[in-house]
């Protein structure tokens, strides 16, 4: 009769649940028949269980967490003197850069306007031909002349402005490039793209959820405790076959937002964000739909549908890559007129 082979590593693999079902069956069968291997297996199992119970985490010192937080605070203060990493730097400076750029454009336009005007002052003929306005005080005072010559024969040094020319002057002046008006400055052209990017980040696993929960109340409580100052309304989308998976505090155009995520059929993703804002900040290009007296602003961003609507002082936005009409209908179903 052949000598029985004893199992060694296989016993440990069995103990640590690392065997495939077939190998597991083989080892278990062997253990039933071999007393020596069975004793070894039991001894190792006992040791593992004993270690888990005996050497598990003791209570950490009471002040340890407090000390860790104090160390982090100190590091935060020091890091304010260090260069900020690019990702955290960009959103803060983006608005300043945008305004700076607008200012530069405005200055450039003003300069070009004056530069263009300069040669016109020196060439009254051209001024007359182009019917451009010339300020009276910059031109020689017109001499009263009963025999008015054709404009082409007029002395270039003494242009005469007809009443018509004068009356045309205003519209010409008004036609100069407009500086952005206040409402235009307040729109956030990047808003839908930013929200769409958040969706993509989540889908790519780059936007972790601080709280994973299916409980809408727990999610709302979390937002309240995490410093979201407005009342959040985490939707129960169970009837629409979407279940909440969790959320976290995020930001939209440098404002804190409550971000929460749902999973639907076929693992489809629906990301909802709420932040304090106005729909007037939304850029042009939205398809507008109305339901229950609420205006919905819907954007299509490279395969994503982004639907915004206003509830009081809060903007709600749903983003998904599912059928656009499904996103719109979900928004219709959950929006509340405030």
């Amino acid at each position: 009769m052949a000598e029985t082979r004893h199992f060694k590593e296989e016993i440990q693999e069995l103990l640590d649940n690392r065997l495939d079902p077939e190998a597991r069956l083989e080892v278990e069968k062997h253990l039933e028949l071999c007393g020596e291997c069975r004793a070894e297996s039991e001894a190792l199992r006992w040791t593992k269980q004993f270690s888990r119970q005996q050497y598990a985490a003791e209570a950490a010192p009471a002040k340890l967490e407090e000390n860790i937080l104090a160390a982090l605070n100190l590091d935060d203060r020091r890091s304010s003197h260090r260069a900020l990493p690019p990702l955290s730097w960009w959103p803060q400076q983006r608005a300043i850069l945008a305004y700076g750029l607008l200012l530069c454009v405005a200055i450039a336009l003003a300069l070009s306007y004056f530069i263009l005007r300069e040669p016109l002052r020196k060439s009254p003929e051209l001024v007359a031909q182009q019917e451009l306005p010339v300020k009276p005080e910059l031109s020689p005072p017109p001499q009263p002349s009963p025999e008015s010559a054709p404009s082409s024969q007029r002395s270039p040094t003494k242009p005469k402005l007809s009443p018509k020319l004068k009356s045309d002057a205003k519209p010409q002046l008004a036609a100069k490039p407009k500086l952005p008006t206040r409402p235009e400055l307040l729109t956030k052209p990047q808003l839908p793209a930013e929200v769409a990017q958040d969706y993509r980040s989540y889908k790519a696993g780059k936007l972790p959820l601080l709280l994973q929960t299916e409980d809408v109340r727990e999610m709302e409580k979390f937002f309240s405790e995490a410093g979201i100052t407005f009342k959040t309304r985490v939707f129960d989308l169970g009837m629409m076959n979407y279940r909440l998976v969790g959320g976290g505090v995020h930001q939209v155009i440098n404002r804190r937002s409550a971000l929460f995520v749902y999973r639907g059929k076929g693992d489809s993703i629906l990301v909802c964000q709420m932040y304090q804002g106005r729909v007037t900040e939304l850029p042009a290009g939205a398809v507008r739909r109305e339901n229950k007296g609420i205006q919905f602003h819907i954007y299509r961003m490279k395969g994503l549908t982004v639907a915004f609507w206003q509830e009081g002082g809060v903007i709600c936005v749903l983003t998904s890559d599912v059928d656009p009409e499904e996103v719109v209908q979900l928004a219709f179903a959950k929006a509340v007129k405030v």
Binding site: W46, K48, G205
Partner: protein, 193 residues
């Protein structure tokens, strides 16, 4: 949290605390069993969290945060806290097997032994402390912290096979030590002798 934090910083801070602080106790426990001194363990833990915070941008969301923290902690321990200590002399695998089987054959042990041993608290801890550091870590990471071999290998910067063999020997050594202790304290009867 300092008032000077921007939204981004604040968001990152909240995210960091939410992900990492739940592991404070586990990190402290392993730190204590490595350094053997509560003050050193506290310092090691603080330093671990601080370094983790500074390199939080390197952490890939969705990956194992606990293993990431343990990796940082072990790296700091190796570079800063590990003293030139005299490691227990390693026994050969043959010698270990012989000791293990002798212990298995000459001791009657059961669940009561484990319960009684736990009453001894720190004395039983000594059995773990006497294991070579690499063996001790294998037990702490896999058996206590319930990490997979792969996660433990990442923390220890070694191949998975090394974790497997260290664990194999560590458990047997620990068993021998614990049985010896139980016999000495009268909690296990010598049998078949």
């Amino acid at each position: 949290m300092p008032n000077s934090l921007t939204f981004d910083d604040e968001h990152q801070r909240i995210q960091f605390e939410t992900l990492t602080l739940p592991f404070t106790k586990s990190i402290y426990n392993t730190a204590l069993r490595l350094t053997h001194r509560p003050e050193d363990a506290s310092d090691l833990v603080q330093e671990t969290f601080l370094r983790a915070y500074r390199t939080f941008s390197n952490f890939t969301p969705g990956t194992n945060c606990k293993a990431w923290l343990f990796t940082i902690m072990y790296s700091i321990f190796v570079n800063k806290y590990r003293k030139a200590q005299r490691e227990p002399q390693l026994v050969s695998i043959e010698e270990l097997e012989e000791k293990f089987h002798r212990s298995l054959a000459t001791t009657e042990w059961d669940g009561h032994v484990a319960r009684n041993l736990r009453e001894f608290g720190t004395k039983v801890d000594q059995a773990l402390s006497e294991l070579p550091e690499s063996f001790r870590l294998a037990v702490l990471l896999v058996d206590v912290e319930e990490m997979s071999y792969e996660e433990a290998a990442t923390v220890l910067h070694c191949p998975v096979g090394t974790v497997r063999s260290r664990l194999f020997r560590a458990r047997k050594l620990l068993f021998v030590e614990l049985q010896q202790f139980a016999r000495e304290e009268g909690y296990a009867r010598s049998a078949k002798v």
